[in-house]
């Protein structure tokens, strides 16, 4: 029955594209998570009234984050072609999309991390200081655990955005479901292929949202 509704879908290709999309999404989500947390922590810690208060560093990181957050993703990929070529020697295939995916989403996530950290009660940080905690202790035992629900729900939103980005990256040759939908579906006017790719992307998004919500609820003891 499935074959009669989707006569032009090659399930082998579809599966391969799904794996590519999952590969691009998961690698970029993991990298974004760590990079975003580092940037978000720096933004938070160097802001006014915090441990590493430093206006200049804060402004520089903030400007960097804002610039990369504002560039439309499709343009960012094009702008990053020389960088990708230098890094990977190619601009086609699943790995080629990674630099643009990570650079495009880490600043976005960094802002969410910063917002999550700001929500921590200042008194709790002060209490840790009054106990004689080092900055690293404050970061790893207070800031990150206390903001973890916000960090997880933030990365969930970012991961869903990243699934969309991988599809866009696919259009210019990065592989995955977006690439398949564009080349096989749109350009050859096989709407069933486009539809199937869309359905699979939707399923991926739902699963990500479900996992994200589940972990957030599990962690939130407030």
């Amino acid at each position: 029955m499935l074959n009669s509704w989707f006569p032009n879908v090659s399930w082998e290709k579809m599966w391969e594209a799904t794996i590519e999309t999952l590969y691009m999404t998961s690698i970029s989500v993991i990298a974004t998570f760590f990079l975003g947390i580092i940037l978000g922590l720096l933004l938070f810690l160097t802001s006014k009234g915090n441990i590493w208060e430093n206006n200049i560093v804060n402004k520089v990181i903030s400007a960097f984050v804002n610039i990369f957050r504002s560039i439309p993703f499709l343009i960012l990929i094009v702008l990053l072609i020389p960088f990708t070529m230098f890094l990977l020697g190619t601009m086609i295939g699943k790995d080629a999309a990674l630099p643009a995916l990570i650079i495009g989403s880490a600043p976005f996530y960094a802002r969410m991390v910063e917002i999550g950290l700001r929500e921590i009660d200042k008194g709790v940080i002060e209490a840790a200081k009054s106990m004689g905690a080092k900055t690293s202790t404050i970061i790893f035992k207070v800031l990150l655990p206390e903001s973890m629900p916000a960090l997880i729900s933030g990365i969930t939103v970012t991961a869903i955005a990243l699934v969309g980005y991988t599809a866009m990256a696919g259009v210019i040759g990065a592989g995955g479901l977006g690439n398949l939908a564009y080349l096989e579906g749109f350009q050859r006017s096989r709407n069933d292929v486009t539809l199937m790719a869309t359905i699979i992307i939707l399923i991926i998004v739902f699963i990500i949202q479900f996992i994200g919500d589940f972990i957030t609820n599990k962690l939130d003891k407030r």
């Binding site: 009660d121 008194g123 709790v124 002060e126 209490a127 840790a128 200081k129 009054s130 106990m131 004689g132 905690a133 080092k134 202790t137 035992k141 207070v142 655990p145 206390e146 973890m148 962690l219 003891k221 407030r222």
Partner: protein, 341 residues
């Protein structure tokens, strides 16, 4: 134990400079419960935060348990802070950790090995009376229980000094009393020096040995709690003392008394410590030719003794009343004539 010398703290804001703490000098003894009272904005919060280096004085020195907190930095400050712990008005517990894990946090900071940590946490849970709640999260606790966790956490590393920053201001009266009793118990059992700031005279009366009254960044009055109660000098101190000795109810009662006794004199007597125990009324009635009528009285307990007020009505010959009042004076009892009828 704690010595604060010529300490000033100036905050600069857009609207100019604000002197939060102005030339404060204090000596706090080992094992003492020392209270600082003042209204909000008096500088008491800034003062207590200078005792563990959360604020650095603009000038002057602060020495706590042989650490010059006002000058040390980095590792030595962190080490000193393990000996000077603090509890807070809003408890400041980590919501992501259970009671047990919250209490273990300062021990983790001090690099206490895990086995020892667990043992110490169990001791502390018993000390503050939180048995059975070890695995609860702060959101599942009442305010009083949260503050008990705060106290257990503060005691974890066997500090020499405990700083209480409005520790009972967010609690209801009943819970406040139980937390204050716990603090007294800890003070007596562990010999811990406690410095607390508050805006409630009730807290000072109940547990402090000595008190400093702050207004506009200055200490305007200081002394043993009983002395201050007996003989408040500054206007603001009188207001604080009235908080506990004269309730609204008392004021109304006096008003009524004044109206219903048009003759004679109404006198307010204040008894402190031993004076409470003399047979003053008997002597008054025996030795003077006047009628004595007891109208209203109450007794407040402080950490170092009792403080009582008594309103009496004296009727009779005017010269005899004057002699009676002089007699009361000679017995070391405070006398205040409320109004001539």
């Amino acid at each position: 134990m704690i010595s604060i010398k010529n300490v000033q703290k100036i905050f600069s804001s857009k609207h100019g400079q604000v002197k939060a703490v102005d030339e404060v000098n204090l000596e706090i003894n080992e094992g003492e419960i020392f209270g600082v009272i003042g209204y909000s904005g008096a500088g008491k919060s800034t003062l207590i935060r200078m005792l563990n280096g959360l604020e650095i004085p603009s000038s002057g020195t602060v020495v706590v348990a042989n650490n010059e907190v006002s000058h040390i930095k980095g590792k030595s400050l962190r080490k000193a802070r393990q000996e000077i712990s603090m509890i807070f008005q809003h408890f400041n517990l980590l919501w992501s950790r259970t009671v047990r894990q919250n209490i273990a946090f300062p021990l983790e900071i001090a690099d206490v090995p895990k086995g020892e940590r667990l043992k110490r946490v169990d001791e502390l849970i018993k000390l503050v009376g939180l048995e059975g709640r070890e695995d609860a999260y702060p959101s599942q606790l009442s305010g009083g229980q949260k503050q008990r966790v705060g106290i257990a956490r503060a005691l974890a590393n066997n500090p020499k000094v405990l700083l209480c920053d409005e520790a009972t201001s967010a609690l209801d009266p009943e819970t406040t009393n139980s937390i204050l009793e716990l603090l007294v118990d800890i003070n007596e059992r562990l010999g811990l020096t406690i410095v607390l700031i508050t805006h409630e005279m009730h807290v000072i009366r109940k547990i402090c040995h000595r008190v400093a009254v702050m207004e506009n960044g200055k200490v305007v009055e200081m002394g043993p709690v009983m002395e201050v109660f007996k003989n408040p000098k500054a206007q603001i101190t009188k207001r604080f003392v009235h908080q506990v000795t004269e309730s609204e109810e008392t004021k109304e009662t006096i008003q009524q008394i004044l109206e219903s006794y048009p003759q004679g004199q109404i006198v307010q007597l204040s008894f402190v410590g031993d004076a409470v125990e003399q047979p003053l009324m008997t002597n008054l009635i025996r030795d003077f030719n006047i009628t004595v009528n007891i109208l209203h009285g109450n007794i407040s307990h402080t950490q170092t003794g009792s403080y009582g007020t008594l309103f009496i009505h004296l009727d009779g010959d005017e010269s005899e009343i004057t002699r009676a009042i002089d007699f009361i004076h000679s017995k070391q009892v405070g006398v205040e004539v409320i109004s001539n009828a």
